[in-house]
């Protein structure tokens, strides 16, 4: 079998194709999308010798199982998880050679939520608007994996560069998100801003690729009414009328009508995407 493709044996809870996202189309209502933990996506690509923007798989909680139709070099990273090839334990966080027709099992995340699987040559589904990412808000890009899905792979350059990467320790017990206040912090009372900057929130189980939903003290508005819809950035902390903040992740809508109290630093969003429900969250305003 010389067919450069991989077949899905077990799709897991939610496994999608992701790269670094679809930029430049927000004015048409197209979300950015892309790997929620982009550092992990970049690292597994580097491990197998791909460009950092090659398409990888992003699993959610329960991993997935795949059967390549050709011999491939694979790397599994992001959320630590058991990796098996034909039932035998294989390494997480480094390259693994998988023979044609062998079964690659990416197990459930031991810590964190989302593991990333890179294949030498990358996943070669047709790009849509310059990206292979599955955008779950607007439905652009490839559908989430299903049992029997066959994904084409690109040509492997065969070039493996040494990668000096310390193993990821997994998510911290507490998620600390550095934020810059605004643009609509003036929509909230002084007490609400104090609450936001000092009290602990918890990651809600209702979180998804669109947003990290938080439980905790509600933020009280200083003024009534609604904001006319305005452009939203990645990491925006939007506060709906119930007062519970939502941190916008990669599949967030490009515009929204609820006030944004603050914006999380992009560098902290990968950790946000790996925080399991119940994880305590603190917002730390910085300049």
């Amino acid at each position: 079998m010389s067919d450069r493709a991989v077949a899905v044996v077990r799709a897991g809870a939610l496994t999608t194709v992701q790269d670094l996202g679809r930029t430049g189309y927000a004015h048409l209502g197209v979300p950015r999308s892309g790997a929620l933990d982009p550092a992990a996506g970049r690292l597994v690509n580097r491990l197998v010798g791909n460009a950092e923007g090659a398409a990888v798989l992003e699993t959610t909680v329960s991993g997935c199982a795949l059967r390549p139709r050709c011999a491939v070099t694979v790397a599994v990273g992001g959320a630590p998880c058991p990796v098996r090839v034909d039932g035998r334990p294989a390494a997480w966080g480094t390259t693994v050679r998988v023979g044609a027709g062998s079964l690659l099992e990416v197990g459930a995340a031991v810590r964190g939520l989302r593991s990333y699987v890179a294949f030498g040559g990358g996943i070669a589904v047709a790009p849509v608007l310059g990206s292979r990412s599955a955008d779950l808000l607007s439905g652009l890009g490839p559908a989430p994996l299903a049992e029997g899905t066959v994904l084409p792979l690109g040509a492997d350059t065969g070039v493996r560069v040494p990668v000096d990467a310390p193993p990821w320790p997994g998510p911290a017990a507490e998620l600390v998100l550095r934020v810059r206040l605004g643009p609509r912090d003036d929509w909230f009372t002084a007490g609400a801003l104090r609450t936001f900057a000092t009290r602990a929130y918890r990651v809600s189980a209702a979180s998804n690729r669109i947003g990290l939903r938080l439980e905790g003290p509600a933020l009280e508005r200083a003024r009534p009414g609604e904001l006319p819809s305005e452009g939203m950035v990645l990491g925006a902390v939007q506060v709906p009328p119930d007062g519970h903040p939502v941190v916008f992740l990669a599949d967030h809508p490009t515009t929204g009508g609820y006030p944004v109290v603050a914006v999380v630093r992009e560098a902290d969003l990968g950790a946000a995407a790996q925080a399991v429900p119940g994880t305590p969250v603190r917002f730390v305003p910085v300049r």
């Binding site: 927000a26 048409l28 652009l140 643009p183 609509r184 819809s229 452009g231 950035v233």
Partner: protein
């Protein structure tokens, strides 16, 4: 004009009203086309704001923006996109009643207006079109529909929109078009981008 920071890499520019926002957005596009704007990854106009995202030095750009005097909008710049419509929407009689005119007159009002895409959002290719006078504003439906068919031409507030695909929606449906609003495989994917001029014509055939 008020320039607000939105995180480390973005500015949210707030303007006096819809017209000023469209004029400021047009000025941004003119300057970008002329190579007179620093690199900006996304320029996202909305009702009263324009978001500039992916800016290397937002502080510097903010200072620069303060000195701008955007030229007023030229209504007739660029070719208008024509959208043929069958004015058969279930809410057309109600819209006509809200306007205090007959259904035929409501169609004449909508086809006589010159529209402009103020901004997009809600779904890829969904444009918020301005151009009807203030007295033709209509409320959203009290209960949104769970499925509005693709190609529905609809009104809400000061805006006209066309649903690029079937989705839930609370706008008042006045007609249907066969024009394809969004095709990710087409270049350009969106028929209606911010700044595009639009005319609706009656008798969309089939």
């Amino acid at each position: 004009m008020r320039v607000l920071r939105a995180g480390d890499r973005a500015l949210l520019v707030e303007l006096e009203g819809g017209g000023a926002t469209e004029a400021f957005h047009a000025e941004l596009l003119r300057r970008r086309a002329a190579g007179a704007l620093p690199a900006v990854r996304e320029i996202v106009p909305a009702a009263r704001t324009v978001l500039l995202d992916g800016v290397d030095d937002p502080g510097r750009l903010a200072a620069e923006l303060a000195g701008w005097e955007p030229a007023p909008l030229h209504a007739r710049v660029g070719e208008a996109v024509e959208v043929p419509v069958r004015y058969d929407g279930p809410d057309l009689p109600e819209v006509a009643a809200l306007w205090g005119v007959s259904v035929e007159a409501a169609v004449r009002i909508h086809t006589a207006a010159e529209f402009r895409v103020a901004f997009c959002g809600f779904a890829p290719g969904f444009g918020y079109l301005t151009g009807l006078g203030e007295r033709y504003e209509v409320p959203r439906r009290a209960t949104p529909r769970t499925a509005v068919p693709a190609g529905s031409v609809a009104l809400a507030g000061p805006y006209t929109g066309v649903y690029p695909r079937s989705s839930p929606g609370g706008w008042q449906l006045i007609g249907t078009t066969d024009v394809v609003l969004w095709d990710a495989g087409r270049d350009p994917a969106a028929l209606l981008a911010p700044g595009t001029r639009v005319r609706f014509t009656a008798g969309g055939g089939r």
